[in-house]
């Protein structure tokens, strides 16, 4: 099915806002980009390509995402860092069943205090989006990352 212009722009805005939210450290707003039952997953490309089910992070439902944010902000001790997302052009496909599939490449740069920026995570978003009324939300967001090792730890959402 063809992709109408409204959808194109809604998707573009969704990804721009999503990156801005995380990079702006507005973590409490982050779960609001998802539907109540959405699945958020950060998974190494190795597992994904080999159909190994393990994720680096696998949060099913907005409730679990909120627990993650609480955990990140109140329980996990870590060095402070900035994130910066640069997200490529998304490809949108609307299936027979009207589900909207969106994929986009991303690069996330991390900056720790006293250091230059470094490549933190590069990979592909493999997502599904749905309209809740006027607003577009993620019902699935898989962050499939290429980088074969994680530079120590992954704290904030990607």
């Amino acid at each position: 099915m063809s992709v109408d212009i409204q959808l194109r722009h809604a998707v573009a805005d969704l990804y721009a806002d999503y990156g801005a939210c995380i990079d702006g450290a507005k973590y409490d707003e982050w779960p609001e980009f998802f539907t109540d039952t959405a699945w958020y997953r950060v998974v190494p490309r190795e597992n994904f390509d080999r159909d190994l089910p393990l994720s680096t992070l696998s949060l099913k439902g907005k409730a679990m995402m909120k627990d993650r944010i609480y955990g990140v902000e109140s329980t996990i001790f870590h060095a402070p860092y900035y994130q910066r997302h640069v997200i490529g052009l998304p490809s949108i496909t609307v299936r027979e069943d009207e589900t909207i599939h969106v994929e986009a490449n991303y690069a996330v740069f991390r900056t720790k205090r006293d250091f230059p920026a470094e490549i933190f995570s590069v990979g592909r978003y493999i997502d599904r989006v749905v309209f809740e009324g006027e607003t577009l939300k993620f019902s699935q967001k898989f962050c499939v990352f290429d980088n074969d090792i994680i530079p120590n730890s992954l704290i904030y959402p990607i």
Binding site: V42, P44, E46, N47, R50, L52, P53, L54, S55, T56, L57, S58, L59, K60, G61, A63, M64, K66, D67, R68, Y70, G71, S74, T75, I76, F77, H78, A79, D148, I149, I150, P151, N152, S153, L154, I155
Partner: protein
């Protein structure tokens, strides 16, 4: 952080220990390049068993997995008899680390540079143009295929877990582990068929021993890991036992979750969050498994390169691959059992959120190791103080102790003669 070598004009800094004991570890033990080189020689390439993987990772003849022992790349491969070989990933001709894929299946091991060809046992099968071409060239008369196979490590397989050692004079694995540690090992690995759930890989910018310390340190989980404390997964007041082998190089921390979770101001644990509640209780949906017995947690450190994790329903092996005195790769292999039903698989995967590079109770372990390394780097004259529960070394039935750390360094000092 350019180089870790602190060698000044005034010669090499050697670690100076306070006294005979092992309760105060000097900075160079974590930062000195020369000490690290000796560790590779005497520990990783010496008479110590290193974990290399699980049998299920190489299901069939020709199936291989590439990994490392110390800094040396090795190949774990199953031969036609079904045995598992561990071969050094280095061509005998001109040193090529010819195997570059991480896993796969091959007919023979061929080094592409000049197509020297090895079988699953590492035997050199053939050399192109060995007898020359049209009567020209070829290998000398006295060249023997048998002299130029791949370097073959000694292998021990126990209940699906594979260990290897460069030193063929190493004692048998069972002796190496000793009775107590072996029983912890067999508790999880009792011969059941394992299932592979997947991997997590992280590079931690700290000395490899700091990870061993971390898992030999029952003092920190109740303090650093708010998550643990608050949900009683790990508390200083939980029932627990600490075991070591007779050399004190290996250890096991065994504990059981307390049912009643109470504030424990009295010990001044500020990391306890009274009002903390999960929006999604499933995150801690723990189901007791018969083989546990009463224990909900068993963390086993097998010197020098692996940790076997059972944290409630989450199971993993954690492999250490050192890369200099100041960093190591940490490879998590999560697994389950063949007879797990769907819910249990899902549960293990869900609880995996607590562990690994992003885990609620593991992400910060990587962080504290990084910061400790920074502390050692900035002052070679510093020594730690690991004197909780005294300066001696011994088993323990409580967790308010650093005895396991002292145990490891007592052994380290013997082996390293430092």
């Amino acid at each position: 952080m350019t180089s870790n070598r602190r060698e000044g004009l005034d010669g090499q800094t050697l670690p100076t220990w306070e006294g005979e004991g092992s309760s105060r570890v000097p900075s160079p033990v974590y930062t000195d390049e020369g000490i690290y080189q000796r560790e590779l020689e005497r520990i990783f390439y010496g008479p110590h068993w290193s974990y290399v993987g699980l049998e299920i990772e190489v299901p069939e003849a020709g199936s291989f997995k590439r990994t490392s022992v110390g800094e040396r790349s090795i190949i774990m491969i199953r031969n036609r008899k079904g045995e598992i070989n561990v071969l050094e990933n280095r061509c005998a001709h001109r040193a090529m680390r010819f195997c570059q894929e991480r896993t796969g299946k091959v007919k023979t091991l061929v080094c592409p540079y000049h197509q020297w060809n090895y079988n699953y046992d590492g035997r050199l099968l053939g050399v192109p143009f060995r007898n020359g071409v049209k009567g020209n060239g070829g290998m000398p008369e006295d060249f023997s295929l048998d002299d130029h196979g791949l370097n073959r490590l000694k292998v021990a397989v126990r209940n699906g877990v594979v260990f290897a050692c460069f030193d063929h004079d190493v004692e048998p694995l069972e002796e190496y582990l000793g009775e107590d540690i072996l029983s912890c090992f067999d508790r999880t690995f009792n011969g059941r068929k394992l299932t592979l759930l997947g991997y997590n890989r992280q590079r931690i910018p700290g000395n490899w021993k700091l990870m061993m310390e971390n898992i030999k340190d029952p003092y920190h989980p109740g303090l650093l890991h708010t998550w643990f404390v608050t949900f009683g997964l790990w508390r200083a007041d939980n029932e627990s036992r600490l075991k070591m082998d007779k050399h004190h190089r290996h250890a096991a921390m065994i504990s059981r979750r307390s049912d009643a979770v109470t504030k424990n101001i009295e010990e001044g644990v500020t990391s306890f969050r009274q009002n903390m509640q999960l929006n999604e209780p499933l995150l801690l949906d723990i189901v007791h498994e018969p083989w546990w017995g009463n224990d909900t947690v068993c963390m086993t450190t097998v010197f020098p390169n692996v940790i076997f994790q059972q944290q409630v329903n989450s199971l993993s092996t954690r492999q250490i691959i050192p890369a200099g005195p100041d960093k190591f790769d940490f490879v998590w292999t999560h697994f389950g059992f063949e007879d797990d039903d769907e819910e249990m698989v899902e549960r293990r995967l869900r609880q995996a959120n607590l562990f690994g590079p992003a885990g609620f109770v593991s992400a910060d372990d990587g962080e504290v190791i990084e910061f400790s390394q920074e502390g050692f780097e900035q002052d070679q004259a510093f020594s730690t103080i690991c004197e909780l529960d005294g300066r001696g070394v011994g088993q323990s039935d409580h967790m308010v102790t650093e005895t396991l750390i002292r145990g490891m360094y007592r052994y380290w000092r013997e082996v390293m003669e430092l």
